[in-house]
Symmetry: C6
Subunit: 267 residues, 6 copies
């Protein structure tokens, strides 16, 4: 038996609403509509799903998709055993059986056979055929499928098939407002709002450079890292360079612009 | 023994005829001619086959094809067992044995070895050689093969071989008429015809954009999703953006056009 | 032991000679020369081989080649068993052992290792080395190899190696004459010659479009399909569109031309 | 134990010398120098090696190389057995152990790991390391390696590595003289010299077209096929078209030229 | 049980600080922030991590990443055993369990599935799902992830995904100062400072050529090699050519420039 | 237990020094520095390593690298056995355990995972992690790694990573002087110096054509082959064509130039 408890979100994740996204998600869950979350890296998509799983009291199974992932990685496979082969459910199958929310993070990264297997789970059938096992799994009534999707860096080679896209309702996410983001950082890193607001200022500078030399802006997570380093005694400019500038770019000009922003904020 | 009952369509699927397609399909089935269903994503191809399986009282086995699918995924394979290897029939073999309608959805997505294995099942031989098992399966007299095909987004790299195409009769499908589609939505989502008709109006706007920035129009399924969200208490414009606009495009101009259509219909 | 009977062609296939091809094939078989059959899709190549197998009273093993086929698919492989591994002859090995005609349909589709394994079977050696089994199979005296080849759609990437081509005598096939084809359709579908002749007229229109928008003409099989549908009560124009036009093209202009031909013939 | 007898060439192959190639080969064999035979398809390379194996009284193991061949196909592999794994020598290992001439036909077709494994067998070491078995096989004193190579159709992508080439002495082969070729055909097909000479005349026409629309000329084997068909009662022009023209080209102009040559010779 | 002792760094690695990197690393470790070390080949990145592991008294597990590495190489896999399959933890899993610093050297070389598996270990979850085993490993409180990254030769095809980059704080490394590098060489090779300083002079010449014909400069390691050879009695110019020039370039002009520098320093 | 004796070089290989390469190698070995040998095909690199292994009295394990080689081919793998799986050390692991010189011939041909596994063996760690076995092999004190590298035909696609290159001292090799090469040939083939010198003269002509139509010059080995053939009674010009010209080029002009050189020398 699968241990459901390990998938429960027991502690309320810190999440502050930015609009009507909670109500919309609750409505989608009530009808068990599959949901597609769109937005840039690090804007809080995963956190939101975690929060909703906690709020709805449903187990959550997260899978980080990648281009080497196969359908078997989602569905399951046979393993060799002392008594021959034994079937091992994959995370999607586990989710369908126990009635979890299954969150496929960055699903476009996966190969097509991975995205096609979700089709019968996302229409009126709500089934998952385990062809290799000869079993047809009917999804638990609480099961829901959620995928994330970053429109910012879809490569030309990778996109969801139309017949996949048309199985989801879509929700847009973006970075939180400066005020909200500062309060998130303050809470997560345990720092005061003044420091948090300064870090957000640097982050906004970086996000404005997106498409002008930066592929992506600075995520909230990196700002929390900066606050962590400062709390450990590292000087603020040094902590900001380490956590906010060095990881995201090697371009000398962009680095100079960001370093300058750091100096202005903490000068 | 395979359990035939699990493949039976027990409840009449909601389907309203749009022309002589039911008569033609019945004639094709009477001669057990292989059938190729052509049409855009979400226009009701799968639903039609389900309806015909119910009407003819035959079991239906559906396989969503994908580019990583192999012939073994259709035909079957050996599994290791406590007593050595055991053969497991694939869905096509099961269908041939029990006399099911086998529906290969989006067959062009599959690799060529997948499409070639169906050849001997689609001519006077009506056999399926299981080379790896050394068995020649004669198809059950009720067996019929159906494939679907979306001419709208055939890539240049993927097409059926001529020697495959020339084994099927072809049937064209398209989106239902506005009147019919509204009644489908009304029935599926349990909403009134007025709301359903408004949703269809938005859908028609989107379908007119196909080829002018949209890869595909809005499927009936997404309209049902919108009605679901409205039923759960989400305001109509918000529900439409979530279910009809966000999933299908990230293009700012197209989104504006569609959002405008939403506002006009529900303004 | 392989059951030879399952490979026998017990009922005389309907075949009407179009020239001296029967005499030439008989001469080639008498010397056990390997034969290469060339011609467009659906012109009756497979049917001819079946007929010759019946006439010569020899078993026939047909393999539909594809680009994912490996040499092991032809020769055989080891399978795991309760007592370790067990060798399973592939179709080519079976044919060599029992003295069958082995027909490799569309052999250029296969990978090179598939085409190279036939070399020692096609010269004075007439042997098939099963390297993985350490066995050298001497072909039965009745064994003959036949391959088919469609010059019409050889891709630039795929062709037989010269050292393979030069192991075969070559026979050209083409669509039968209108008169002959009508009598074939009449016999196969059980319809009168008038209907059959009309169908052939449409087919000839399509074949004239080959290279002018159509990749291939209409095969005899599709004409039989059309007659089948008419026999089941479908109106002739509708049956022709379903069986002769829809499967082979999505081009609007070509469809119009063919639909027009249908209307003229049945108008 | 490997049965050496199955690799012996017991009947003298028909071979007529065209120069000093027999003496050179004997000298190379006396020093066990590795030999590379170069020449067009069907000029008699394989036949020559077979003849030399017969003349020297040594077993011969021939391997037709292809692009899907791996080093394991030459060296050997483990097979699963009732008592665990069992090693099975590949053809090259067998040849090295029993002292056979190992003939790798069209070696450039193989993957690089296949060509590299022969290195230690072709220098002063004369060893073959079976890394997977942990065994170092010292070649039998009679062992010799021979490879063939068709300079006519080396693709740009495929060539032997220089470090491989420089391990062989090279011998050029070409089609035999008209007189010699006619006597070969007469002997092989059991026909008179007049017919044989006529067939050679057609062949020479074809060989002159090489590089002017024909990829390769007509091999001696195809001429023997033509004589075989004539012996079975097929009229000479028809037999020539079947055996000499149809297999090697689909080009209408080249076919016309060759058909014209047939008519002139047999007119 | 894994033997932790084998991963301990028992002897203090020779490392001399070049700035505040030790304090920053200690702060990052205190918050268990994932660290990305950037810098050219051979500038001492690996040595620094080894030093920090020694200083912090934590076990260190190093994995040299490469383009053929799979997620299973990091996480673990099932092995066949006398009693069926047995799970074997990979190095990342071992590190997570025992609380080691896991150092993934040149992580961009690895395939995406390798980089994606580290995601849940690098956010608040600090877990590693072993999907194939059905186990969720919670990282030991001492576990930390470190990756290295050479911005100098990122190919266009290979880069970390943004969603991976934004999980790390970044630290820049460069070659040590001349004075410091000489003392390192002197200590490592057991030579006097004069020789060490001369070797560094040559090294600086080479590093100035980077981007002007040299892909990378000369690493400290190669200078130690040169001192080693001189200690073994090889004349200094010859030792320098062998250890500093020959390994890094075949370009005649660059070699002349470097050889000239050697002669000037040791002339 | 591995049988060390089979890797010992018992007979002194014929090798004549061309400079200080023996002293440099001995110094490198004394410090166990990894060595990279550079030079054209057939200039005696392998022979030199064999000679040094004999001189130092150390076992030698040679691996001819190729593009299909994997890390497992070097390190080892699990084999299935009657009692489950059994680990089999690969050649690199054997060398590390018994203290052999491990010579990886043409290492750039191998895949990257093959070259990366040697990293921990080539720095102060001198270890080889067998991740799949969970064992960390400490190299025997006599172990040394040597790789060869042909700068002449590095493809653009294949080169060693800088982080690999910077782990080796480099030694250049070239063809021996005419005088020395003649004495080598004379000794190896057992012919007089006059014949040997004539063969070298032809070789020098060929080496001057390198880059002007010839990819590589003629190796010493081929000259020994020519002398062998002459000793077996083949006329010198014919022997030279067979051993020196035919193997290395099919270009008509280059062949004419070389044949002319042969005639001049033996005219």
């Amino acid at each position: 038996m699968t241990n459901i408890e390990q998938y429960k979100v027991n502690v309320e994740p810190f999440y502050q609403s930015q609009g009507d996204e909670i109500a919309i998600y609750e409505a989608a869950y009530a009808s068990r509509l599959p949901v597609m979350i769109k937005g840039p890296t690090g804007c809080g998509k995963s956190r939101f799903i975690e929060y909703m799983a906690w709020k709805l009291g449903k187990p959550l199974i997260t899978v980080a998709c990648n281009e080497d992932m196969t359908a078997s990685d989602l569905i399951g496979r046979y393993l060799l055993d002392a008594n021959g082969t034994r079937w091992l459910d994959g995370p999607l199958t586990v989710a369908a059986r126990i009635g979890a929310i299954c969150y496929l993070d960055e699903v476009v990264e996966a190969r097509q056979d991975t995205t096609v297997v979700i089709h019968p789970l996302t229409d009126h059938r709500r089934t998952l055929p385990l062809d290799k096992k000869g079993e047809m799994v009917s999804a638990h009534e609480n099961f829901q499928l959620v995928i994330s999707y970053n429109p910012g860096y879809q490569s030309l080679m990778k996109d969801l098939k139309q017949s996949t896209k048309q199985r989801f309702v879509g929700m847009d996410f973006d970075y939180p407002s400066a005020q909200l983001e500062a309060s998130i950082i303050s809470k997560e890193a345990g720092c005061d709002m003044e420091l948090a607001s300064k870090l957000v200022k640097i982050g906004i500078t970086a996000r404005n450079l997106k498409g002008h030399g930066l592929e992506e802006g600075i995520s909230t997570r990196l700002m929390v890292y900066a606050a962590d380093l400062i709390k450990q005694g590292i000087a603020a400019p040094s902590a900001c360079r380490t956590a906010l500038v060095r990881p995201i770019t090697d371009d000398i000009d962009i680095r100079a612009t960001l370093d300058h922003a750091v100096d202005q904020v903490f000068g």
